[in-house]
Symmetry: C2
Subunit: 227 residues, 2 copies
DNA sequence: TCCTCAATCAAACGTTTGTTCGAGGTAATA
DNA sequence: TATTACCTCGAACAAACGTTTGATTGAGGA
């Protein structure tokens, strides 16, 4: 039946745009390239998404929706705090593994000059803020200290995001290997890293230990300062 | 005299491009906009930098040059390890404070589809790798464990970079306040944060404590695992 | 049979893109 | 004075940009 292409046009446009935006950035991709990749007529893009940034808005919306569902589920208030951290970390890693390209687009796109995107980001950031504050308080941090909060907020997401940013870039470099001596040298150095389940189990364990010990370090410091 | 005029135009182009690229991203900025901002004729850009990406290459080159000078100076091998970490953190913060926009451009630009940029990045990453490995070994980490190295490498830079990324975006949002209710709400929430010397002293102290405790956490875990 | 309507298409719209070119200007050197 | 080398400029180029248009298709309801 050749139904592999039976995905409707809108979804194909969406998927093609995600992949291209992730690799090149929003402004570097033209709608003709998207249409070509999605095997769709150019006008279909404006038909379904209104304008080019309409696709971007759709991508970011979907991304943040999934993202907040990931960090929202940390096992209820009954669980131990260490388990809560571990749960969030595992959820975040799972989220990024399943939505790598969408996340790359959403977190890499500079929002300042695209007002529509800026609003979406602001809304989500404000939401995260109110959502996560109780957790930090429970962890013994002083949530009224703006500097401490500025430091600790989003730290987990930052670390995990950067890992996937590096991994994504890296895997695209590997695909283009052979064109440059410098890159060949770089490739040889850490051979082939397998980003499989085992890797991410280890990674989650490391990050959990690191984060918990780190937070203890600064919350302990706080107590001794205020004593 | 003639030489100063030359440096004037070239430097003005460079500065204008840095500012615009940082705000909008490389592809979203046209050379006419750069020329206009720099008060310079369009053809001056190709005259001095050959092509548009020539500016980008110059920016990234200068950025990584300063960046590596920053992390290279950590007080010699005689200093205590804690002091070494603190020194690197302070250097990195100083670097980012003095070169915010250059760093935003260099670290935000997606290199995958701009081969010239990709090579520069690869070269620098490989260089950092060989430079920093001894430090991690000295810290009690198992530098032969690829997962642990994958986790710990570049972590300090990641955290500090993300702070400045947020700050930079934030400050541009503030400039555009008043156009949106969502953004106004967001603005009210954490009022006006002063990113002054005092802030970064506190920030450096927090990060140092956090990092050292975190590293101890995972190196201790390693020992107990292998015992 | 007629009508509706969402989906799709080729073609063209007017701008804007990065780049090139040659003519002019200026100041120091020969 | 003539020559040289370095800057600067306006104009022009083909290509690509995002968007719009009007026509065509085909399935579904009346």
């Amino acid at each position: 039946m050749a139904e592999e292409q039976k995905k409707d046009s809108k979804q194909r446009i969406f998927d093609a745009a995600v992949s291209l935006f992730a690799r090149k950035g929003f402004s570097a991709v033209g709608i003709r390239e998207i249409a070509k990749t999605a095997h769709v007529n150019i006008s279909m893009i404006n038909y379904y998404f209104g304008e080019k940034v309409g696709i971007l808005k759709a991508i970011i919306d979907e991304c943040y929706d999934k993202y907040y569902r990931a960090i929202h589920d940390c096992g209820g208030e009954a669980t131990l705090r260490e388990e809560c951290v571990q749960r969030i970390i595992k959820n975040l890693i799972a989220f990024f593994r399943e939505n790598t390209e969408i996340a790359m687009v959403s977190f890499n796109t500079i929002p300042v000059d695209i007002p529509a995107v800026l609003e979406i980001k602001c809304r989500w950031v404000a939401e995260e803020r109110t959502m996560t504050t109780p957790y930090f308080r429970e962890f013994g941090l002083n949530t009224d200290d703006p500097i401490q909060m500025n430091f600790i907020r989003g730290l987990l997401t930052t670390i995990i995001t950067e890992h996937f940013r590096c991994r994504y870039t890296w895997e695209h470099i590997v695909q283009r290997a052979g064109t440059s001596h410098v890159m060949k040298n770089y490739l040889e150095h850490d051979a082939e890293m397998k980003y499989d389940d085992h890797f991410y189990e280890q990674f989650a364990e490391l990050l959990t230990k690191f984060y918990i010990h780190g937070v203890r370090g600064i919350s302990h410091q706080l107590q001794s300062n205020e004593k």
